[in-house]
C-alpha cells in the first residue's frame, strides 16, 4: 500500500511538475515614446444633410491644417493613407468607421461641418473613439475664419498638452520702416499684424510685461538711447533718458519692474528701476559690460550676457544668494540669452564658423544642444510662455525674418510678418490679440 501511495505521489509530482514552475512575469521600463508626434487626419469639410461644404468651412479646414503645421507634436496625415479612403459618412462618431483609421495608425481625426455662417468641428481619438474637442462657431465671416481656426487649434493643443501659450500669446518685434525701425505686434502665426510705435530712429529689443499690457524697448536716435514704454490700453509710447546716455535691453521682471543696462559708472551694468524709473543698486555688478537680462517666472533667477571674463558669455544670477555662475564655456561669443519660465533652459545665440546659431543649455543636466542650423545668421532667441517654442530672427532666406522652432530643434517655420526685415521677437505671456 505504501508503495502504491509512493508511486502515486511520484506520478502526481511528475504530472504537475511543470506547473510548479509558476508563470513568470517580466518587468520592462520604456522611457519616452518612440514617436513624439501623433498622426492627425483632417477630413474634408461637409455640408449639412449631404449638401456640399460651404466655402467658409473649407477655408476653416485649410487654416486649421496650416496651424497644425506649426505644432511639431502633430503630423498631418493624408486621406490617401487610409485604406478605403474617407471612412466617414457624417461628422459624429457614429458616422465614422474607426477601424481603417486605427489600421492606418491615425491617432486623431478632425471632422468639419458648415452651413451658412456656422462652423462645427470635432476631434476624435481613434483608438478610444472619444471626443476630444467639439466646438461650434456661429456668425463667422471670411475675415474672421482664420481667427476662429486659431481658437480651435488652441483648444486642441490645450487638450493634448495642457498648454496653449503658442496660440494665446502675442509676438512683438522690431521691423524696418522708412529707414528706421519700429515695433510691431502679431499673433504667433503672424495674424493681426500691427505697427505699434512711431518714434522715429530705431526701436529695438522689445520685452512684454507679464500681464501683456506694456512693452519696454530701447529707442536709439541722435538723442542717444532712450527707454520706451508702450501701453497697450492707451496705445501710446513714452520715451525716457537716463544718465550716461546708455539704456540697453530693458526687460520686465515678473513682478512688473524693469531691469535695464545703464552706464552709470562708465560701463553698462544691469539695474532694476523703481516705479519712478530710478535705478537702484546694480544686479551682478562687475567691471565688464552686462546686458540682456532675462528672468524665470519666479523672478529670482536672471540670465544675462557679460564680458566680465573677456568675451561675451552667458551667466546666471541667483537673486536670493547673489551668486553668479557662468553658463557657457564653449564658443567665444555667446549673446542674447532667454531663460525658460521654469528656469531650467537657457537659449542663446553663439557665433560659430558658419554664422550665429541658436543653442540651448539645460541647466539641470548641464547639456548643450544646437537648435538652429542656418544658413545665414540666427539671432535673438526668445522662449514662448510655455518654454517650448523658441522664436528667433534669421537671415536664412535673404532678408531677416522671424522663425519659430522648439527647444528640441524642430524644423524652423517662418512667421509671416509682411514685407521688410523683422527681428528681435519677444513673446507676450498674456492673452493674445482679442
Amino acid at each position: 500500500m505504501k508503495i502504491k501511495i509512493w508511486i502515486l505521489t511520484l506520478l502526481l509530482v511528475l504530472a504537475f511538475g511543470e506547473n510548479v514552475r509558476a508563470a513568470e512575469t517580466l518587468s520592462v521600463d520604456i522611457f519616452g515614446p518612440g514617436q513624439t508626434r501623433v498622426n492627425i487626419l483632417v477630413l474634408p469639410a461637409r455640408g449639412v444633410n449631404g449638401q456640399a461644404a460651404t466655402s467658409l468651412a473649407r477655408s476653416f479646414g485649410e487654416y486649421v491644417q496650416g496651424d497644425i503645421g506649426f505644432l511639431p507634436f502633430l503630423r498631418l496625415a493624408y486621406l490617401t493613407e487610409v485604406l478605403g479612403g474617407d471612412p466617414s459618412k457624417g461628422l459624429k462618431a457614429d458616422d465614422i468607421d474607426f477601424k481603417p483609421l486605427q489600421l492606418s495608425r491615425i491617432d486623431l481625426i478632425l471632422t468639419i461641418g458648415g452651413s451658412g455662417a456656422d462652423i462645427e468641428a470635432r476631434v476624435y481619438e481613434t483608438f478610444t473613439r472619444k471626443l476630444l474637442v467639439g466646438k461650434a462657431y456661429s456668425q463667422v465671416d471670411q475675415g474672421g475664419v482664420a481667427h476662429v481656426a486659431d481658437r480651435f487649434c488652441a483648444q486642441l493643443m490645450r487638450v493634448l498638452t495642457g498648454k496653449s501659450g503658442f496660440f494665446d500669446s502675442t509676438l512683438a518685434f522690431s521691423k524696418k520702416v522708412n529707414g528706421g525701425k519700429e515695433l510691431f505686434i502679431a499673433s504667433a502665426l503672424g495674424r493681426g499684424l500691427e505697427q505699434v510705435t512711431h518714434d522715429g530712429g530705431f526701436d529695438v529689443s522689445p520685452s512684454w510685461s507679464k500681464d501683456g499690457r506694456k512693452l519696454a524697448y530701447t529707442n536709439i536716435s541722435d538723442l542717444g538711447h532712450r527707454l520706451g514704454i508702450w501701453d497697450r490700453s492707451s496705445r501710446v509710447s513714452r520715451l525716457r533718458r537716463f544718465p550716461g546716455n546708455i539704456a540697453i535691453s530693458p526687460t520686465f521682471t515678473p513682478d512688473g519692474q524693469i531691469a535695464i543696462s545703464l552706464s552709470l559708472n562708465g560701463h553698462p551694468d544691469i539695474y532694476l528701476l523703481n516705479s519712478e524709473f530710478q535705478a537702484g543698486s546694480a544686479l551682478a555688478p562687475s567691471w565688464g559690460i552686462s546686458v540682456s537680462p532675462s528672468f524665470d517666472l519666479s523672478g529670482r533667477k536672471m540670465v544675462f550676457c557679460s564680458g566680465r571674463l573677456g568675451g561675451p558669455q552667458i551667466f546666471i544670477l541667483n537673486r536670493d544668494t547673489g551668486v553668479v555662475d557662468r553658463v557657457t564655456y564653449e564658443g567665444t561669443y555667446n549673446t542674447r540669452p532667454s531663460l525658460s519660465p521654469d528656469g531650467r533652459f537657457v537659449v542663446f545665440a553663439r557665433l560659430t564658423d558658419s554664422g550665429n546659431r541658436i543653442f540651448i543649455r539645460d541647466l539641470v543636466v548641464n547639456q548643450e544642444r544646437q537648435i538652429s542650423f542656418g544658413p545665414g545668421s540666427d539671432e535673438d532667441p526668445s522662449f514662448d510662455p510655455d518654454g517650448y517654442f523658441v522664436s528667433f530672427a534669421s537671415s536664412r532666406a535673404g532678408g531677416t525674418k522671424i522663425y519659430v522652432t522648439t527647444r528640441y530643434g524642430d524644423p524652423a517655420r517662418l512667421i509671416p510678418t509682411g514685407p521688410g526685415d523683422a527681428m528681435a521677437p519677444a513673446w507676450g505671456v498674456a492673452a493674445a490679440l482679442d
Binding site: 508503495i3 502504491k4 508511486i7 502515486l8 511520484l10 506520478l11 511528475l14 504530472a15 511538475g17 514552475r21 509558476a22 508563470a23 513568470e24 512575469t25 517580466l26 518587468s27 520592462v28 521600463d29 520604456i30 522611457f31 519616452g32 515614446p33 518612440g34 514617436q35 513624439t36 508626434r37 501623433v38 498622426n39 507634436f73 502633430l74 486605427q102 495608425r105 491617432d107 481619438e125 483608438f127 478610444t128 472619444k130 487638450v159 493634448l160 498638452t161 495642457g162 498648454k163 543653442f359 540651448i360 543636466v365 547639456q367 548643450e368 544642444r369 544646437q370 537648435i371 510655455d386 518654454g387 517650448y388 527647444r407 528640441y408 530643434g409 524642430d410
Partner: protein, 305 residues
C-alpha cells in the same frame, strides 16, 4: 491470488509509466548515463558566447560547445532512422551556419557575462560531447541491430532533437540580437538616441527583467518593439508621468490581453500606451516558456530628446 497478481501488475505498470514519464520529462534516454545534478541545459540556454556561434564553424572549430545541429539535418537523420535503416553519419552533424556573421559582435557587458558562463561550459563540455557521441553510438547500434524496441531509438533521437531545438533557439536569439544591433546602431542596450543637435544623450537602461540574461535580452527586445509603436504628443513639459500596463502573451508571443494596472492620472497618456500595445499585436516568442506576463512601465521622460 488473482487480485494480488492484478495489483502487482498494476503497480509494475505504474512504475514503468513513472519511469517513462520521468525519462520524457528530463529528456534522458535509458542508455545514457547522465549526472542529473549537472544543469547542462541551463548553460546552453543562457549561452551567448560568440565562439559558440555556428558561423564560427566556417573559420575554425567552435571553442565552447559541440557543433549545433541544423534542423534539416536532424530531421533527415530521423527519417532515415525511421524509414531506411541506415545509421546517420557523423558528417551529417556538421555545423551549418544559421546566424549572420555580425552576430559575433556583442556588447561588452554580455561578453563579460559570457566569460563567466564559459567557465561553466568548459567544465561540462566533455560530458556533453560524450553524451552526444554516446547517443549517436546508441542510435547506430540500435538501428543496425533492428532487434531493440524502437522506443530506445526514439528516446535517443528525442534527446538529440531536444538538444537541437535548444541550439536552434539559441541561434534564433543570436539572430534577433544581431538584427536588433543592426537596427539600433550597434548597441541594443541604449535607449533613446541623439537629438537633432547631436548633443542629446542616450542613457543605457537595462530591462527590469528578473532572472536569467535571456529574460533581460527578451525584455530589451520587447522594449524596442513597443517603444517604436508608442506615439505621444510629448511637449516635454510634464516628465513625471508613468503608466503601468500588464500584458499577457501566449507561448508564441501573441498579445492576448492588456490592462492598465497603475494609471498615470492622465487618461490620454494611458490610452497612448494601450494603443502602442494594441498596434504591436505580437511579440517574438519568449525565450523562457513559462513567461506569460509582461509588466510594462511607460515613462514620459526625456532621454533621447
Amino acid at each position: 491470488m488473482q487480485d494480488t497478481r492484478q495489483t502487482a501488475g498494476f503497480l509494475l505498470s505504474l512504475a514503468l509509466h513513472a519511469l517513462f514519464v520521468a525519462a520524457a520529462v528530463f529528456g534522458v534516454g535509458n542508455s545514457m548515463k547522465v549526472d542529473m545534478d549537472k544543469p547542462m541545459y541551463t548553460v546552453d540556454l543562457v549561452s551567448l558566447n560568440p565562439s559558440e556561434d555556428p558561423a564560427a564553424g566556417d573559420t575554425g572549430e567552435a571553442a565552447g560547445a559541440p557543433p549545433p545541429l541544423a534542423e534539416g539535418e536532424t530531421r533527415q537523420a530521423d527519417q532515415s532512422a525511421a524509414a531506411i535503416p541506415s545509421p546517420p553519419t557523423a558528417e551529417k552533424l556538421k555545423p551549418e551556419p544559421l546566424v549572420r556573421d555580425d552576430a559575433k559582435a556583442i556588447s561588452e557587458k554580455k561578453v563579460e557575462e559570457q566569460k563567466k558562463l564559459d567557465k561553466k561550459v568548459e567544465e561540462k563540455q566533455p560530458s556533453r560531447q560524450d553524451l552526444l557521441k554516446e547517443a549517436l553510438k546508441d542510435v547506430k547500434k540500435d538501428v543496425a541491430d533492428k532487434s531493440k524496441d524502437k522506443g530506445k531509438v526514439q528516446d535517443a533521437l528525442k534527446d538529440v532533437r531536444s538538444q537541437e531545438s535548444k541550439e536552434s533557439k539559441k541561434d534564433a536569439v543570436s539572430g534577433e540580437l544581431a538584427a536588433l544591433r543592426k537596427s539600433s546602431g550597434g548597441n541594443i542596450f541604449t535607449a533613446g538616441g541623439t537629438g537633432p543637435g547631436g548633443a542629446g544623450g542616450g542613457k543605457g537602461t537595462g530591462a527590469g527583467g528578473t532572472g536569467s540574461g535571456l529574460m533581460s535580452v527578451y525584455g530589451n527586445i520587447v522594449k524596442q518593439i513597443i517603444k517604436k509603436n508608442w506615439r505621444y504628443q510629448a511637449m516635454g513639459t510634464e516628465t513625471n508621468v508613468a503608466v503601468v500596463l500588464e500584458i499577457n502573451i501566449d507561448p508564441k508571443g501573441t498579445i492576448t490581453g492588456a490592462r492598465v494596472v497603475q494609471p498615470s492620472g492622465n487618461p490620454g497618456f494611458d490610452d497612448s500606451a494601450m494603443r502602442a500595445v494594441h498596434e504591436t499585436q505580437a511579440l517574438p516568442s519568449p525565450s523562457v516558456k513559462s513567461l506569460d506576463t509582461l509588466r510594462i512601465t511607460f515613462n514620459l521622460q526625456e532621454l533621447g530628446k
